[in-house]
């Protein structure tokens, strides 16, 4: 048997799994998005509707608003996670008493299911029961009620996401920091670079691949967040935290509008891929267009 054939033989299980669980569902959703299909309606037959689902989608203010809210959520949550994760990673690079214990405690949120995280935060924010509204009122006289104030609900979902997922970013950046070579830092020191210059010209470029990986993973997760927010706010008040995953869920499950739901899912996937690609193209694959002098 030729070496190339052996290679394909070893690749075959992965390729088959990828095709069955990745490509086929995508093609199925793509096909359904061009149909008008509600299997629980009086007429459950699939009717070809062309691009009508996409036409409806670009005029659907509820969907567009949910996309905008999701984008805001993603930007706030991911930016906070990267900054916090970096500082925590730098902290865990130093030696201090009980370092291993704190590192383990710090990663505990990662092990909790999103539904449980949402339920816990719900309990912590219920007026008259949760500690957050109680202490905010007692210490600062702050009226904290996420079932009434849209801004508070939005920022509570962001804080919950940051609490849940910052450890992932910390671990990613910690791994990258641990594997950094010493030489560039020694050279920077010899050249007389101060801490800010060392961070900007040495640490950040070396960390860029890890930061990008963390941003991509977290941005994709943020774009499809459903369970945590559903448990915490149920999408409310009004539609303030009805992120795109929740909106699609409402269309696909309670309304059983599969064609329209598929179109929305695909456009959300499209926007997620485009955002990640723009980040990649802007930060990694950029070409210097200036002509050499």
């Amino acid at each position: 048997m030729r070496p190339q054939s052996v290679g394909w033989l070893f690749m075959a299980p992965t390729l088959v799994i990828l095709f069955v669980f990745g490509v086929l569902p995508f093609v199925y959703v793509l096909v359904i998005s061009f149909f008008d299909w509600n299997s629980f309606a009086a007429d459950p037959t699939m009717r070809f509707s062309g691009v009508q689902n996409y036409r409806d989608l670009v005029f659907d203010t509820g969907y567009l608003m949910s996309l905008w809210n999701t984008l805001k959520f993603g930007v706030f949550a991911v930016a906070s996670e990267i900054v916090l994760g970096y500082f925590l990673a730098q902290l865990f690079m130093r030696n201090f008493p009980l370092k291993s214990f704190f590192r383990t405690i710090h990663t505990l949120p990662l092990m909790i299911a999103p539904v449980a995280v949402g339920a816990t935060w719900r309990l912590m924010t219920v007026p008259g029961l949760g500690p957050i509204p109680y202490y905010l009122d007692k210490w600062f006289g702050y009226d904290y009620l996420i079932s009434r104030y849209a801004g508070q609900a939005f920022f509570t979902t962001v804080v919950m996401d940051v609490w849940h997922w910052t450890p992932l970013v910390t671990l990613t950046l910690l791994a990258a920091l641990s594997s950094m070579p010493k030489e560039p830092f020694e050279q920077a020191q010899i050249d007389g670079a101060n801490k800010l210059q060392t961070f900007w010209y040495v640490t950040l470029p070396l960390l860029k691949p890890a930061i990008l990986a963390a941003v991509f993973i977290r941005l994709m997760d943020a774009m499809r967040t459903v369970d945590e927010v559903w448990m915490l706010t149920g999408g409310g008040p009004a539609a303030a935290t009805r992120y795109v995953g929740l909106y699609i869920w409402r269309v696909v499950f309670p309304k059983t509008d599969y064609g329209y739901g598929s179109a929305m899912s695909l456009i959300t996937l499209y926007l997620t891929i485009v955002m990640c690609w723009l980040l990649y193209a802007g930060l990694v694959a950029r070409r210097d267009l200036r002509k050499p002098e």
Binding site: V51, Y54, V58, F59, I267, Y270, W277, A285, R286, R287
Partner: protein, 68 residues
């Protein structure tokens, strides 16, 4: 011996501000295709048919693939 090694030609630089291969250019074309159609349906379809968007997208895609 080194004379036998065929010289590799440098990849031509297109108008896109990033380093691209054929897959990247096809990807950018598909992204533009979808974006143009969504934009057209939202703002222009009342006046101009969607087929115009399809023709424009295909032309743009071909240019990106050939010269991007």
């Amino acid at each position: 011996m080194s004379d036998d090694v065929p010289l590799r030609r440098a990849a031509p630089q297109g108008f896109l501000p990033i380093h691209t291969n054929a897959f990247d250019r096809v990807f950018v074309s598909v992204v533009c295709f979808v974006a143009i159609h969504l934009f057209w349906m939202r703002f222009l379809e009342q006046d101009i048919s969607l087929y115009v968007a399809t023709v424009l997208s295909v032309i743009l895609g071909a240019i990106i693939i050939a010269r991007g």
